[in-house]
């Protein structure tokens, strides 16, 4: 009798004496409902994206009658998505190229060459993790003006790098600390110098951290809005997010089908990358938050 109820209920092995069936089903139902509220808004754009403007005006909520890709093509032309994508990609690549090696190198030193000096320097970098970008926006803009890089894409990814380095240095440091020392010792006895130990042995071992950093720095700089808004003025250098929000402000919800197409393109990379790497992404985000 008892085993039967346990079998019927979905996950009763914890708390077996408690009759969980009804409650568990209820809670599961609520959880699914809440998950639907997360999912449904994400599906919305797909309802409009295959419609013509006329169709959308008369029947915005009907199921799409046929798969028209025209809106993607039009959005591509009107919102100049091609250029937006190129600009964003450039920024992402720049941020990755600047952030990941700097953080890896610093994290390595902090993990393997501990001394009073490096400890102080580590706190210097760690403190940066708590600095909100908002606080320094104005001097940052002025600084980029002095350096002549306002309204250029490097002017966007160089500050981004500075604000990304602290987190990834922490991650790399904790990664390198965990690696066994014997390998480095053996290499040293074989006559390898500091550089070759780092480049040939340690860095390849830290590949998971590197993949993760690359992935998340990409997603972060892809999604950035605030810094782009401030640094970039000319439409030629607009990033994807700026283009999408500018279009929304200019045309409102009236051009929804075309707009939806642009939004889907602007959101797709982060969503797809999240789908692929969600386990890692969640884990590393937690690691960062626990440190903070």
């Amino acid at each position: 009798m008892k085993t039967k109820t346990a079998k019927l209920s979905l996950g009763a092995e914890s708390f077996p004496h408690y009759r969980p069936k009804l409650k568990e089903i209820l809670v599961t139902f609520i959880l699914v409902l809440l998950a639907l509220t997360v999912i449904l808004p994400l599906i919305l754009p797909w309802m409009f994206v295959f419609k013509t403007r006329l169709e959308f005006a008369y029947n915005p909520w009907g199921w799409p009658t046929e798969l028209r890709w025209l809106n993607f093509v039009e959005a591509w032309k009107v919102i100049r998505i091609g250029q937006g994508l190129l600009n964003t990609l450039y920024v992402c690549l720049g941020a990755i190229v600047c952030t990941v090696p700097s953080a890896a190198m610093a994290g390595y030193v902090f993990a393997r060459y501990r001394s009073k000096v490096t400890e102080v320097l580590f706190y210097f970098i760690l403190a940066g993790y708590f600095v909100p970008v908002q606080m320094v926006l104005i001097p940052l803009y002025q600084l980029c003006g002095l350096m002549g890089i306002t309204d250029t894409l490097p002017g966007l990814f160089l500050p981004m790098t500075a604000f990304g380095i602290p987190f990834w240095t922490i991650i790399y440091r904790s990664f390198f600390v965990k690696l066994p020392n014997e390998l480095a010792e053996a290499a040293r006895i074989d006559g390898a110098g500091h550089t070759s130990i780092f480049v040939r042995i340690m860095l390849p071992l830290a590949k998971p951290a590197t993949v993760l950093a690359t992935l998340l720095v990409f997603m972060g700089s892809w999604s950035d809005y605030l810094l782009s808004l401030i640094m970039i003025n000319s439409a030629d250098r607009y990033t994807m997010q700026l283009r999408v929000s500018q279009f929304l402000n200019a045309y409102g919800a009236d051009h929804m089908p075309r707009y939806a197409a642009a939004a889907i393109i602007a959101a797709a990379p982060t969503v797809i990358l999240y789908m692929i790497g969600h386990r890692w992404i969640i884990q590393s985000t937690l690691a960062g938050a626990i440190k903070g």
């Binding site: 408690y18 599961t28 999408v244």
Partner: protein, 311 residues
């Protein structure tokens, strides 16, 4: 003694050791240089400049003029800033009161009622968190759009006139809550995942002991999980509060701080002062206030925690 060391190092047999130390120093410096350079140039120098600028009258053109604390005094007489400050504090209060209990409920339910349906849900809840904020804002705007928006369509379809009459983003009393709802949708995923990770770290034998004593799931939640995750709850509350101080993307994209100043935030006040009115000094003063508020709440959190540990 120093001489001795030098002499020792100069000895032919030990020469190698000294060169290696030099190598190490060079190696370390080269490796640390990029990170430190980036932070010094793009973070610490601007921080110093923020403090300096906040004491000056500066428009970006012409000379800057030292004016002491005048910017701050002016800010506290400025309606928009006061509104932004009030909104930031209200936002912090309500996100701690609404988003975190909601996230705790979901996280606890997900980790206690584990079955085939609930297991993959964690990944879904976090999904809204990885969406670019510009896209989140557009979804929110579309949700509340008076023409063809989700709410408008619902009211038309079901003849709910009361729903059609509500102006979600245009009504000053409601706009805050409309944005808050979107933010709850967008940010809760992180709190859920974070709390869940902490709930699952509670040793299994504690759960077993609780069930042997005949505790129900909700008693288990109240008397065991809640106290054992109090640290995690404090951390997410802190993140919530600090996030509220620098809130910008969602309110700016959805209402630009309007109608009037109803949804103004500190981030928006800074942006408007600094980049729309070219009042660098006053904008920087807002930046300093954001920083001080964040610092204040961080210190408060850690001192509360220490007190707890001492008791």
């Amino acid at each position: 003694m120093n001489m001795n060391v030098k002499a020792y190092a100069m000895m032919p047999g030990k020469k190698k050791m000294k060169t290696r130390d030099w190598n190490a120093l060079l190696f370390k410096s080269v490796l640390l240089l990029p990170a430190i350079l980036f932070l010094a140039v793009f973070m610490y120098y601007p921080i110093e400049e923020t403090f300096r600028l906040s004491m000056t009258r500066s428009t970006g053109l012409g000379p800057t003029q030292f004016i002491g604390f005048q910017n701050y005094v002016r800010l506290f007489q400025n309606e928009e800033f006061l509104m932004g400050l009030k909104n930031a504090l209200l936002w912090a209060f309500w996100s701690v009161c609404i988003q975190i209990p909601l996230a705790f409920f979901i996280a606890f339910s997900l980790s206690v009622y584990k079955n085939k349906i609930t297991k993959p849900l964690r990944v879904i809840y976090y999904l809204s968190n990885v969406l670019p904020s510009a896209i989140t804002a557009m979804l929110g705007k579309f949700m509340f759009a008076p023409r063809n928006g989700v709410m408008a369509t619902l009211s038309a379809k079901f003849k709910w006139e009361w729903l059609g009459k509500i102006d979600f983003l245009g009504n000053p009393d409601l706009a805050f809550w409309s944005i808050f709802a979107v933010a709850t949708w967008a940010y809760s995923g992180f709190y859920i995942v974070y709390l869940m990770a902490n709930i699952e770290q509670i040793p299994k034998d504690i759960q077993e002991a609780a069930q042997l004593d005949g505790a129900t799931r909700w008693q288990y939640a109240r008397f065991i999980v809640l106290p054992m995750t109090s640290y995690a709850l404090r951390i997410v509350s802190l993140l919530c509060i600090v996030g509220s101080m620098k809130l910008f993307d969602l309110p700016w994209l959805m209402t630009s701080g309007g109608p009037g100043y109803a949804t103004s935030t500190l981030g928006i006040v800074l942006y408007k002062n600094g980049f729309l009115n070219w009042q660098y000094g006053r904008g920087a003063a807002v930046g300093v206030i954001i920083f001080l508020l964040s610092l204040f709440f961080t210190i408060l959190q850690f001192s509360l925690q220490r007190k707890d540990r001492d008791a």
